[in-house]
Amino acid sequence: MPKKRINVIRPTLRQGKRYVLLRFSQEKSKVLDQRSLYTMLSNNFQYAQGIFSLSEAGITIMSFEPSKCLAIVRISDDYLDKFLSSLLFLSTDLGYILVESVKPTLKSLQVLQR
């Protein structure tokens, strides 16, 4: 059977993403690793918005620097406000959470991070 090539999805049809740069105040975040931060964020999002929203939101930790208490999280554009509002309930675990920046590309955030 001949191999069928799958077409690339056009940028206009792709799901919009947002990259969020988060800074944590609590020393507790320094002992976390990327996996446990993901578990905390997704469990908290599920608590606030439900499991169906969690499956569509596509939360991904792009980078996490425990020494600097910084994390970059990727989230679907449609769920950005739901994700940010859910952080209200997470703050007790990680102290004060500062949303430093929200950008449409990872590159623009990494410039800020430096």
């Binding site: 105040s25 406000d81 739901k82 509002s85 209200l88 004060y96 959470i97 500062l98």
Partner: protein, 197 residues
């Protein structure tokens, strides 16, 4: 340039981290008035972000003794809320959410509209009792929108862990059903400046 604000308790100043929170350029510091001696003015420390004083009344009888400055009061019962809204001296009603039966109804919204009061939601109340607070807040916001009453969403934090970031507050307000145009207006410091004038 927009001036975003937040309200914190004076105990928060001890942590001295206000300059690190770049999204807020105006801080209202709450001074609790419990007894007569508290009325003797104590100056706020001169640190880089702008600090403004706000009087928080535990006893409503002190309202007449404060000549200038914004006055906030919190009502724990429906009667107290009615008294606060009827008072000419008090500018802001803090936290209209109750842990028991609702204390804010349509009549309260109407009186608040006539007296041009501001209703301040305490963000930490949503952490303490999320289900009840969200349910009551949605109901109250509908009334406030109907009667065109101004509302604000503030941290009322006494420590850094209780502080809620501006972006989180804005997104939370959006989730509670507020439109973008209203959100831009209520998070701007102008809303409190107008009140002072």
């Amino acid at each position: 340039m927009k001036k975003y604000f937040d309200i914190v308790f004076d105990g928060f100043l001890k942590e001295q981290q206000l300059d690190k929170i770049s999204s807020i350029n105006c801080w209202y510091v709450v001074k609790s008035i419990k007894k007569k001696e508290d009325l003797i003015s104590s100056n706020l420390p001169s640190i880089k972000p702008e600090l403004k004083k706000l009087y928080f009344l535990e006893d409503l009888s002190f309202a007449t003794q404060i000549k200038n400055g914004l006055i906030v009061a919190r009502g724990r019962t429906a009667d107290e809320v009615s008294r606060i809204l009827a008072s000419k001296q008090i500018d802001i009603l803090a936290n209209p959410i109750s842990s028991d039966k609702p204390i804010f109804d349509e009549e309260c919204a109407r009186v608040a509209s006539e007296g041009k009061k501001i209703i301040a939601f305490d963000m930490n109340e949503f952490r303490r009792q999320p289900y009840k607070a969200i349910k009551q807040a949605k109901f109250i916001i509908t009334l406030l929108k109907k009667h065109r009453v101004d509302m604000i969403f503030c941290s009322f934090a006494d420590g850094l862990s209780k502080l809620v970031d501006l972006q989180i507050r804005k997104s939370f307000a959006k989730e509670l059903g507020l439109e973008e145009s209203i959100i831009e207006r209520i998070f701007d410091e102008g809303i409190l400046c107008q009140k002072k004038e």
